[in-house]
């Protein structure tokens, strides 16, 4: 009885008593949700266009951020370093297409999945060899990102909003809008959607798969760079960031592997759910439940919609 009370009644009483805390928790959840959504976006872009479950997305985030900071440390001005990092991501995209995707075309999905593991190892090793394994401070000031926070007096308490988080949300929305325009309005975007629908049909009307793959991996690289800057500005740039890639996986199964809106909505749901769960229900079992609570949320959704929230309906035939 006491247990049921502490699960179903107590947390909601707490929410009612301290609405400012509730708003703060919701905000924190939304902010981390935006970052999860950005990583999931990188996954979805690649999965849609090439059918590759890109495990290396997380390390691409780290690699992009490290390159940016590392270049700046060697005396390159911040904006030049940013442009150079974009070039590095383009080189990476071309290299991945040449070295991994092209030789492995038409292989089962699991083989490509494994290959991105190999890519992860290569990027970890290269990143440490070139830039060293120590955590670095993101150059958010040089890039013109705001710091500090607003304190808003509301609901009988204070809610603290970090300026960098607001900037992250705005940049993320701009990126999603930009991707949406590219996907729907441009020639290359139409080609991308065609490839996502059917590789063979796209090939038969003369779309170059190789070119599309490079474009998609490059787009994912740019998304990774943006994620790396945002996440790096909140904490440091280190290889521990790779863990966030795993955080994006429940977002994927929640939103569906092939849906960009799914990645965004899923990211927000997971972010909010995770923070709420940790804050209100975590103490019941000793805390630290963030590592798996997101998966539980995603699994519950999956039981009702096996294809995820926005995924394409799975039709199986013999």
């Amino acid at each position: 009885m006491h247990l049921l009370y502490s699960i179903f009644v107590d947390p909601f009483m707490q929410m009612g008593h301290a609405p400012d805390l509730l708003v703060q928790t919701l905000w924190d959840g939304l902010v981390s949700g935006v970052l999860y959504a950005l990583i999931a976006l990188g996954f979805v872009l690649i999965f849609k266009a090439s059918g590759v479950f890109n495990f290396a997305q997380g390390i691409m985030v780290v690699f992009a951020a490290l390159t940016l900071v590392g270049l700046n440390e060697h005396g390159v001005p911040a904006y030049v370093a940013l442009a150079l990092t974009v070039v590095v991501m383009l080189v990476l995209a071309v290299a991945v297409e040449r070295a991994i995707l092209r030789p492995l075309v038409n292989q089962p999905e699991i083989i490509l999945f494994m290959a991105t593991f190999g890519l992860t190892y290569v990027l970890i090793g290269l990143g440490e060899l070139i830039f060293g394994g120590d955590p670095k401070v993101m150059i958010s000031g040089e890039l013109g990102l705001p710091s500090g926070s607003y304190r808003i007096n509301m609901l009988g308490g204070y809610v603290q909003l970090q300026k960098i988080d607001i900037a992250a949300a705005i940049i993320a929305s701009l990126m999603v809008a930009g991707l949406g325009i590219v996907f729907n309005r441009t020639r290359i975007g139409r080609a991308l959607r065609a490839v996502a629908d059917s590789h063979r049909a796209a090939l038969s009307v003369g779309i170059s798969l190789e070119q599309i793959w490079v474009v998609v991996w490059f787009a994912a690289g740019v998304v990774a760079l943006a994620t790396g800057i945002m996440w790096g500005a909140r904490s440091n740039v280190s290889f521990a960031l790779e863990i966030i890639a795993l955080k994006a996986l429940p977002v994927l199964i929640l939103g569906g592997f092939t849906s960009i809106p799914g990645a965004i909505v899923g990211g927000l749901i997971i972010g909010v759910g995770e923070k709420m769960g940790e804050f209100y229900w975590g103490p019941l079992v000793g805390g630290g439940i963030e590592s798996w609570f997101a998966y539980v949320i995603a699994l519950v959704f999956l039981l009702f919609r096996p294809q995820g929230l926005f995924g394409e309906r799975i039709i199986e035939r013999l």
Binding site: F53, A99, I100, P103, L104, Q107, P108, E109, I110, I111, F113, M114, A115, F117, G118, L119, T120, Y121, V122, L123, I124, G125, L126, E128, L129, G133, L246, L249, P250, L252, I253, F257, V285, G286, G288, I289, S291, W292, Y295, V296, A298, L299, L302, L303, P306, G308, E316, R317, L318
Partner: protein
């Protein structure tokens, strides 16, 4: 020439269905077992046993377990590390509750605990498939890792939050704990692995293995010919987790000697999955080849600069090992996507037709 089955007539169903129908295979297996059981313990150094052979055997068993699930039943799982952990912690608790029971019996028993947990986490497998299922099994991995840290009962409220293996004896010989000799532990690991892999091989050529493979090839069609999908998939999860659990218990009791929750984290799961895929999905031989390659390669890479007389900082060596390992994984996948086991098949064909190419 060397591998001809010409003239080996099978005159009964039993002979046709035998585990090793060809004479050369029987001789080969006998030779390998002879070397493993007699020659290796007599000649190998403690280093070779402790850091090469025992780990490879233990990891092979875990890879076999995952192979039963992923390679034979087609269910991708990323929870292997967690299931190994369940086996290890279950074995540790069993030794505290039943200090006088034979340790090998307890190691095998702990597999059943892992099987039970594995079945529970296999429950979503009917609704969801493919990568969705893989991510769902990650839930198992993270939840179990969390349990290993947050439930102090599991490690007997030890302050270091790790399990220390007690010394157990059998026939007056120390089997586990710091005083046990490498050779003893090697022989026990080898016996358990050999017995369990023999069981797996038999499982695979019988009814259960065939239903698993039918489910892997196309689960809808399998359902139509009367295979109960749910039971079959759950059984695969249970058996696979049993193998992983035994491997986890052996890892702690017969190889490492102590363990923390860190030993069973997500990287362990990925490592085992590597072994299965590099070795060959759906091949018991592949599990061994994959384990040997993935475990052996870093050791070779780490010692290579010394042999070559190069002096490189150890950090640089570690980082280069990562890069080389990654490149090799991609290379192997490109050259032979069906795994090392396929190389052995090609080699057999070459031996069969030698010296003529056709």
């Amino acid at each position: 020439m060397f591998y001809r089955e010409v003239g080996q007539y099978k005159t009964s169903y039993a002979a046709d269905q035998a585990l090793l129908p060809i004479l050369q295979d029987r001789i080969g297996i006998a030779v390998i077992l002879l070397i493993a059981f007699v020659a290796v313990p007599l000649t190998a150094s403690n280093f070779a046993l402790d850091s090469v052979l025992i780990p490879i055997l233990v990891l092979s068993l875990a890879a076999t377990g995952l192979n039963l699930l992923t390679g034979y039943t087609g269910l991708l799982s990323l929870g292997t590390g967690g299931f190994m952990g369940v086996g290890a912690f279950a074995c540790y608790k069993l030794t505290t509750f039943f200090p006088n029971v034979n340790i090998i019996f307890l190691i095998l028993c702990s597999g059943f605990f892992a099987a039970a947990i594995g079945t529970v986490f296999g429950l979503p497998s009917l609704r969801i498939k493919g990568f969705y299922l893989a991510v769902a099994t990650l839930a198992a991995q993270f939840f179990l890792s969390w349990c290993f840290i947050r439930i102090p009962w599991l490690y007997n409220y030890n302050i270091s939050a790790s399990i220390e293996v007690p010394t157990k004896t059998m026939f007056g010989l120390a089997v586990t704990g710091p005083t046990a000799s490498s050779v003893t532990r090697y022989l026990i690991v080898l016996s358990i692995v050999a017995a369990l892999v023999l069981m797996a091989a038999n499982l695979m050529r019988g009814r259960i293995g065939r239903t698993w493979m039918a489910v892997r090839d196309m689960d809808l069609a399998a359902e139509l010919i009367g295979i109960r999908l749910y039971q079959t998939k759950l059984l695969a999860f249970a058996v696979s987790s049993f193998y992983c659990g035994v491997a986890g218990a052996m890892m702690v009791f017969l190889w490492l000697g102590n363990a923390e929750s860190e030993s069973f984290n997500i990287n362990q799961s990925f490592l085992i999955l590597f072994m299965v895929i590099i070795g060959g999905l759906g091949s018991l031989l592949g599990s061994f080849l994959g384990a040997a390659l993935i475990w052996g390669l870093p050791i070779v890479l780490r010692h290579a600069p010394d042999y070559l007389g190069l002096h490189i900082r150890s950090a640089t060596v570690d980082q280069s090992t990562f890069v080389i390992l990654g490149v090799l994984i991609i290379f192997f996948l490109i050259v032979e996507p069906h795994g090392l086991a396929r190389l052995w098949q090609i080699g057999k064909q070459k031996l069969r037709v030698w010296p003529f190419p056709y």
